[in-house]
Amino acid sequence: MIEELGTTSEGYMVINIGPQHPATHGVLRLVMTLDGETIIKTEPHLGYIHRSIEKMCESLSYRQFVYVTSRMDYLSSHMNNHGCSLVVEKGLQVEVPERAQVIRVLMDELTRVASHELWWGAMAMDLGAFTPFFHSFRERETITDIMEETCGARLTMNYICPGGVMADLHPDFQKRVKKFVALFKSKFHEYNELVTGNIIFQNRMKGVGILSAENAISYGCTGPVARGSGVSSDIRKLYPYEVYNKLQFDEVLETGCDSFARYMVRINEMLQSIKIIEQLIDQIPEGEFQAKTKAVLKLPKGEFYQRVETARGELGIYIVSEGGTTPYRIKFRSPGFSNLSALPHLVKGSKIGDLVATMGTLDLVIPDIDR
């Protein structure tokens, strides 16, 4: 057994990383057993930001519980809302107008770009480079401005609701998104020049944090973490929802299995999202932005499941309904939790510096893990 603060019986040093630590980007606590700088064992301790969102949802109506989910993975709040709306619509068998579908996909992809931008800056900061953070925020700010204009909020947007979206697009939406796409494309080369091509960065990333395809599957990793190990796991391709099956985009797969592969997946995913946005931005169909639904939603008795691809991986929403106005039981399968579970395996035997770098490539959002 590890003593709380001190050394193990073998003489290894035990150190607490977190719950308040700059590298964990939240309140994750890692109890690490170290031999000098080498990591012998890592134990993630969770629960520091547990808000019992699942239990809370059981006492909220089917319209209300969607908004709580924005607070889970706050960097992909649109996707969380999207998944919840989809599962409710599945239960009610509501047909969502095509305009709403396109708007939802557009918002999802904008959020994905914003999330990956933030990850890119934060990960570079973990490696000791501060400047990339500000460069990525230059582009991310334009996205949050677009969100603010249309959805009324910058982070927890609560824009997608059962039946469609809350409000119609702002008249300037198309113009501003096109402006953002042009800005992103003109600045994207800076990302590669500043970080990707840097020899120090490549030495830190290549051959570190190896996650084989078998392990990625057995730990239940999804999203860019699994795709970095060559495991196809893009829900948008495998179980398409909304208009994704009509779009031209590639699932980014890397076979490096190391931190650098996971990094490259996210970098290339940004380009794919931009590709999707470009396809849709001129094709937003006219019509209603919300389907006609009843004021009080009641799901029929049964079990409903829907998965969506968030910026971090597969988010599953499982609802058990007894036929009432509130869910009887609700369970979220969050991508961050499974990805975090691979961390002790990834960093075993590497240095403390590698822990920070590897944790950066997992792109953990702690409120998503604890819920």
Binding site: M13, I15, H21, P22, A23, E37, A124, M125, D126, L127, G128, A129, F130, T131, F133, F134, H135, R138, L194, V195, N198, I200, F201, N203, R204, K351, I352, G353, D354, L355, V356
Partner: protein, 358 residues
Amino acid sequence: MLSLENITNTIHEWLNATFNPTLALLSEFVLIGICAIALFAMLGLSLVLMERKVAAYMQLRLGPNRVGPFGIFQTVADTLKLMMKEGLTPDGADKFLFNLAPFVVMIAAMMLLAPIAFARGFQIWDINIGVLFLSAVSSVSVIGILMAGWASNNKYSFLGAMRSGAQIVSYELSAGLSIITIVILTGSLQISDIVNSQENGWWIFKGHIPIVISFITFLIAITAETNRAPFDLPEAESELTAGFHTEYSGMKFALFFLSEYINIFIACALGATLFFGGWMPFHIGHWEAFNQIMDYIPSSVWFMGKTFFLIFLLMWFRWTFPRLRVDQLLSLEWKYLLPISMINLLVVTVMAIMGWHF
């Protein structure tokens, strides 16, 4: 023309004419001490401001711009705040060593100001082993850092101090070897001799490619020795929160912080002295007219210009590169820099014996 040499000579003569020699010498000591402390404070404040402005420029920001014009009093305000803060000593700490450590680091940094030639004839102590003195005293700061890390009784501090020890001890070697190349060419350890030897051209131009190599080695080594990014492992904030000064607060922290910047200044001043001719103006062979125009610029401006250019280079590194890992840091030194600087030293020695340099 502004000459600091004239000012110091005037003061020296006036003191000797007014008081008896002992009293004159004592008052000169006091004056020098006040100047050194004032310089220490001024350098610390201006370099912190410069770092923030350079960082802001690289990061698409404005930087401090609220306190005073262009925020020039921001660092003064910060220092006042740090002075008013409580200097906490943790419960489990070794109290004597914990409180001593910042002073060891600071005194080492202040002693380094002595042999630096700031302008023509403006030097506190032209000791005949000037370069050796600089590299020897600069290693004393590692004792202070180890002391701080050990006495804090904190594992983060301890890891940071251990990293710092390994790092500074290793990088001293290639810093020393690259300094020796200039010493071989000059034939003297004295700072004034080294500066005077560059009257007809700086060593970086006179010494061919080997000196350029030793300058690059020197630049990498001083970046590591002053614990600057990409070699800021002792205080890697994303790994060890703040490394060896995690437990320090208030003015004790400020002393670490300031002495880091003084060390940067000293290291860059040494680099400017060795490779860029110190206060020596830029001269080209026999272009008399050009050389006279260059001479018209005060020597202190030349020295500060070169030093601040090198400091800017170090800041540029810091805000561009990610951090190395601890094993990569050591293998960079022992596998690459040290062999390169050893071979380079041999080449320079041959060059000096054969007289191939200009």
